[in-house]
C-alpha cells in the first residue's frame, strides 16, 4: 500500500543524514512498530510518512501514486490519520466537536453524523457527559482515546502514531495498544507506530529498528 523508495533526510547537511536510501513497504491489515534510540530520527521518518514534511531524497508512493502528485494537504486530508504523543486535540472544543471537526475537514463518509461520533467515543469509554465538556478536562488516557476515536471516524487507510503511549500509564497503554490492533486488523487499515516501549512493539505484527541510519526488520 505504502512504499518508501530510497528515502533520505537530513536537517543541515547531507553528510549528517539521519537515514539514507531507505526502502520500506507497508500494507493494510497490518500493524508496524518503528523502534530506535531517542534522537535516531523516528519522528522525522514518521513526519515524512504523514505528509507533514517532504523527504530530501527518494519518493513515497501510495497505491502507485507519488505523494508529491497527490499533494501533501490532500494526502493528509484523505489518506493519512495521525495520532501524537501529545494528543493534538483542538483544545477549545469538546471531544464530540473534535470528532465532528475532523470528520468535516477530512470529508469523511460519516461527516456530520453525530450519532456515529458519540458511538465511537462511547466505545472508547467516554461518558455522554465527558463527550460534551471541554476536551482539556479529560485525563491523558481519555484524551488519547479521543484522538484515536478521531482516527477511527475518518476514512484514511493509513494511520500513523508517534509515541501514542508516551504519556500514558500502564493500564491505558494496554488499552491503546489493543485499539491500534483493532484498527489494523478489524478495520483493515495500515498502522505505523513509532515507539520506544517494548510492549507496544511486541504487540505489533512487524517491528523495524532504526539504528546506524538504517532500518532493520526485527520481527
Amino acid at each position: 500500500m505504502l512504499e518508501l523508495k530510497q528515502i533520505g533526510y537530513w536537517y543541515d547537511r547531507e553528510e549528517n543524514s539521519l537515514f539514507k536510501n531507505v526502502d520500506l513497504t507497508f500494507e493494510t491489515g497490518h500493524s508496524y512498530a518503528i523502534v530506535g534510540q531517542s534522537g535516531s530520527g523516528k519522528t522525522t521518518l514518521l513526519s515524512l510518512i504523514a505528509g507533514l514534511e517532504k523527504p530530501k531524497a527518494g519518493e513515497i508512493i501510495l497505491n502507485g501514486q507519488l505523494l508529491s502528485q497527490i499533494g501533501l494537504t490532500k494526502y493528509r486530508q484523505k489518506k493519512v490519520s495521525i495520532v501524537f504523543q501529545s494528543y493534538n486535540l483542538l483544545t477549545y472544543m469538546s471531544p464530540l466537536n473534535n470528532l465532528l471537526t475532523a470528520m468535516a475537514v477530512t470529508k469523511s463518509t460519516h461527516e456530520g453524523d453525530k450519532t456515529y461520533a458519540r458511538e465511537m467515543l462511547r466505545k472508547l469509554g467516554l461518558t455522554d457527559e465527558q463527550m460534551t465538556k471541554n476536551v482539556q478536562r479529560l485525563s491523558g488516557g481519555q484524551q488519547q482515546r479521543v484522538a484515536i476515536a478521531r482516527t477511527m471516524c475518518c476514512d484514511a487507510k493509513l494511520v500513523v502514531a508517534d509515541e501514542p503511549t508516551g504519556n500514558l500509564d500502564e493500564e491505558n497503554t494496554q488499552e491503546v495498544i489493543q485499539l491500534f490492533q483493532t484498527i489494523a486488523h478489524e478495520q483493515d487499515r495500515c498502522v505505523i507506530i513509532v515507539t520506544h516501549e517494548p510492549d507496544v512493539a511486541a504487540a505489533c505484527d512487524y517491528s523495524y529498528r532504526l539504528a546506524h541510519h538504517e532500518f532493520a526488520l526485527e520481527k
Partner: protein, 495 residues
C-alpha cells in the same frame, strides 16, 4: 463551512479573550469613527455654508476710469472750464443688467439706485453725532455734488427689499405691512423705519410728502410697510450722507430714478447679482465682464464671507483628517500587534488543523471569521459611543473655529473699506463699501448655526468603519499567519 463553526466555538470557549478583543477593537474604531464623523460633518457644513453664505457680483460705474478721465480733463481744459472738474459716473443700463442676469449661475439680481430728499410733510430724525459720522462716510456721489446738496432723507431704491443684504442677512425686518417688491416698480410705494414712523405717528397706508434737494419738486409717497433694524446695525449702517440711519426710506429703484431725473430712467447706480454657487463667482465675473464696456463699468466679486467660511471649514477638515490618519495608523498598529500575538499563540491549533489536512486558506479564513464577528460587535459599540464622542469633539472644534472665524471675518471687514474707495459706492446703502462690513457681521450673526457641526452616525459611517476594520484585520491576519503557514506542518507542530 466547518471553519465557521470552529470560529464560533473558539470565540465561545475563550470568552475572556473574546471580550477583551471586542473592547480593544471598539476603542480603536471609536476613535476612527470620531475622526470620520468630524470630517464628514465639516464636509457637509462646508457645502451648506457655501450655499447659504452665497456670493455676489456688483456691477457699477468704473470709478477708477472715471477718475482718470476727470484728472485728464482738469489738466487739459482748465482754462476753458473754470468750474471744478466733475467726476461723471455712468449709471448702469438695465439692458446690460438683463444680459448678465441671463448668465449661468446667476440666481437673481437687485438694482440699487439711491438719492436723497428733504422731509416735507414730516420731520426727519436728527442726532448730533450723525453729522460727524456722515462727514466721514464714503459718499458715493463723491465730488459730483457738494455736501450741501444732501437731503435729510435717504432714499434707497431697490428691486426688492428681500434681495438686499440688510434684509437677507443683517437682521432687518418688516414689522408692519410688507417690503418693497418687484411689482412696486413705477409706483410711489415706500417703507419707512420704525423710529421715523413712531416720531411722526406714521402707519401703513399713510402718504408722506418730500421735496427734492433743489426744492423745486414735491413727491407724494405711500407707506406700504414699516421696517426695523437691529440696534447694533444703526451705527454701522449709514445712509448717503443722511443725518441718521432712521431717515432711510426704501422704495423701488424706479422711484429713486424719477427723483434723480429723467436721464436716470432705466438705470441703476449699481446692481448686485446673487450667484447661486460661490465657487462659480470668478467664472460668472469673467463671462459678465465680456458683456459690458469696461471703460465705463466694473464688475466686482464679493465672496469674502464665503472665503472665510471655506477657510475655517478647511481647517476643521484638515484637523479631522489628521485625527483620522493618526488614529488609523495607531489603531492599525495596536490591532495588528494584538492579532499577530493572538495568532502566534495559536500555532499549536494551526498545526493540528494542518495535520488533519485542513487547507491553509481555510485556516486563515477561520481567523478572519472570528475577527469579523468581533468587528461586527465592535462596530456596534463604536457606533453608539461615536455619536457621543463625535458630538463632544464637534462642539469643541466649533468653539475654537468660531473664534478664529470671527477674527478672520473682522480682518476681512477691516480691509475692504480701503478697497471701497475704488468700489462703486454710489451713495447707496447697499454699496459694497458698506455691505462688506455688514457682510462680515452677517456672517458672524449666522456663523453659529452655519458652522455648527451636525455630527450624526449614519449607516455609511458604520460601513466605512467596518471596511476600515476589515482592512486592518485582513492585513494583520495575513501577516501573522503568513509567518506560520509558510513553515512545513512538521515545523509548526513539532518545533
Amino acid at each position: 463551512m466547518n471553519f465557521f463553526k470552529r470560529a464560533w466555538l473558539n470565540l465561545i470557549a475563550k470568552k475572556g479573550r473574546t471580550l477583551l478583543l471586542i473592547l480593544v477593537t471598539s476603542a480603536i474604531l471609536l476613535f476612527v469613527l470620531a475622526g470620520l464623523l468630524i470630517r464628514n460633518a465639516a464636509d457637509a457644513a462646508t457645502s451648506n455654508a457655501k450655499k447659504s453664505v452665497g456670493a455676489t457680483l456688483t456691477l457699477s460705474a468704473n470709478r477708477e476710469a472715471a477718475f482718470k478721465k476727470m484728472r485728464a480733463s482738469a489738466s487739459g481744459d482748465s482754462t476753458s472750464k473754470p468750474e471744478k472738474p466733475s467726476l461723471s459716473l455712468t449709471p448702469v443700463k438695465l439692458a446690460d443688467v438683463k444680459q448678465i442676469a441671463n448668465l449661468d449661475n446667476v440666481k437673481n439680481y437687485n438694482l440699487l439706485s439711491s438719492t436723497s430728499v428733504n422731509a416735507s410733510s414730516f420731520d426727519a430724525i436728527s442726532t448730533t453725532t450723525s453729522s460727524a459720522v456722515s462727514a466721514n462716510t464714503e459718499d458715493g456721489r463723491g465730488g459730483s455734488k457738494t455736501f450741501a446738496d444732501q437731503g435729510d432723507i435717504a432714499i434707497s431704491g431697490v428691486s426688492a427689499t428681500a434681495l438686499t443684504t440688510n434684509f437677507a442677512s443683517n437682521g432687518y425686518k418688516i414689522i408692519k405691512g410688507r417690503g418693497i417688491l418687484a411689482s412696486d416698480a413705477n409706483t410711489t410705494n415706500i417703507i419707512v423705519k420704525s423710529e421715523l414712523a413712531k416720531q411722526n405717528d406714521l402707519s401703513v397706508g399713510d402718504t408722506i410728502k418730500v421735496k427734492s434737494t433743489s426744492g423745486s419738486q414735491t413727491y407724494s409717497m405711500k407707506i406700504v410697510g414699516i421696517y426695523k433694524a437691529p440696534s447694533t446695525s444703526d451705527t454701522a449702517q449709514m445712509g448717503p450722507g443722511a443725518t441718521d440711519p432712521s431717515n432711510t426710506i426704501y422704495s423701488s429703484y424706479t422711484l429713486a430714478n424719477t427723483i434723480k431725473g429723467s436721464k436716470y430712467k432705466n438705470t441703476a447706480d449699481s446692481v448686485t447679482f446673487n450667484v447661486s454657487d460661490p465657487v462659480k463667482v470668478e467664472a460668472v465675473k469673467k463671462a459678465g465682464t465680456k458683456l459690458i464696456s469696461t471703460s465705463k463699468y466694473s464688475l466686482s466679486a464679493n465672496d469674502v464671507s464665503y472665503q472665510s467660511v471655506k477657510s475655517s471649514m478647511t481647517n476643521i477638515k484638515s484637523f479631522a483628517d489628521k485625527i483620522v490618519w493618526l488614529v488609523a495608523i495607531a489603531g492599525t498598529i495596536i490591532l495588528a500587534l494584538i492579532i499577530i500575538l493572538m495568532i502566534r499563540e495559536r500555532r499549536y491549533e494551526i498545526g493540528v488543523l494542518l495535520s488533519l489536512g485542513e487547507s491553509r486558506a481555510k485556516i486563515v479564513t477561520q481567523f478572519f471569521v472570528e475577527m469579523f464577528l468581533v468587528l461586527i460587535v465592535a462596530v456596534g459599540i463604536a457606533g453608539a459611543g461615536g455619536q457621543f464622542v463625535g458630538n463632544k469633539l464637534g462642539e469643541q472644534l466649533v468653539a475654537q473655529q468660531t473664534a478664529s472665524t470671527a477674527s478672520s471675518v473682522q480682518t476681512g471687514g477691516m480691509t475692504r473699506p480701503n478697497a471701497g474707495g475704488q468700489a462703486p459706492g454710489n451713495g447707496n446703502a447697499q454699496a459694497p463699501s458698506g455691505s462688506v462690513g455688514r457682510g462680515g457681521a452677517s456672517f458672524m450673526d449666522s456663523s453659529a448655526d452655519k458652522t455648527a457641526l451636525d455630527v450624526q452616525v449614519t449607516p455609511t459611517n458604520l460601513a466605512e468603519l467596518g471596511g476600515f476594520g476589515l482592512a486592518i484585520v485582513f492585513i494583520s491576519i495575513v501577516l501573522a499567519s503568513g509567518g506560520i503557514l509558510r513553515l512545513s506542518p512538521r515545523k509548526v507542530l513539532i518545533d
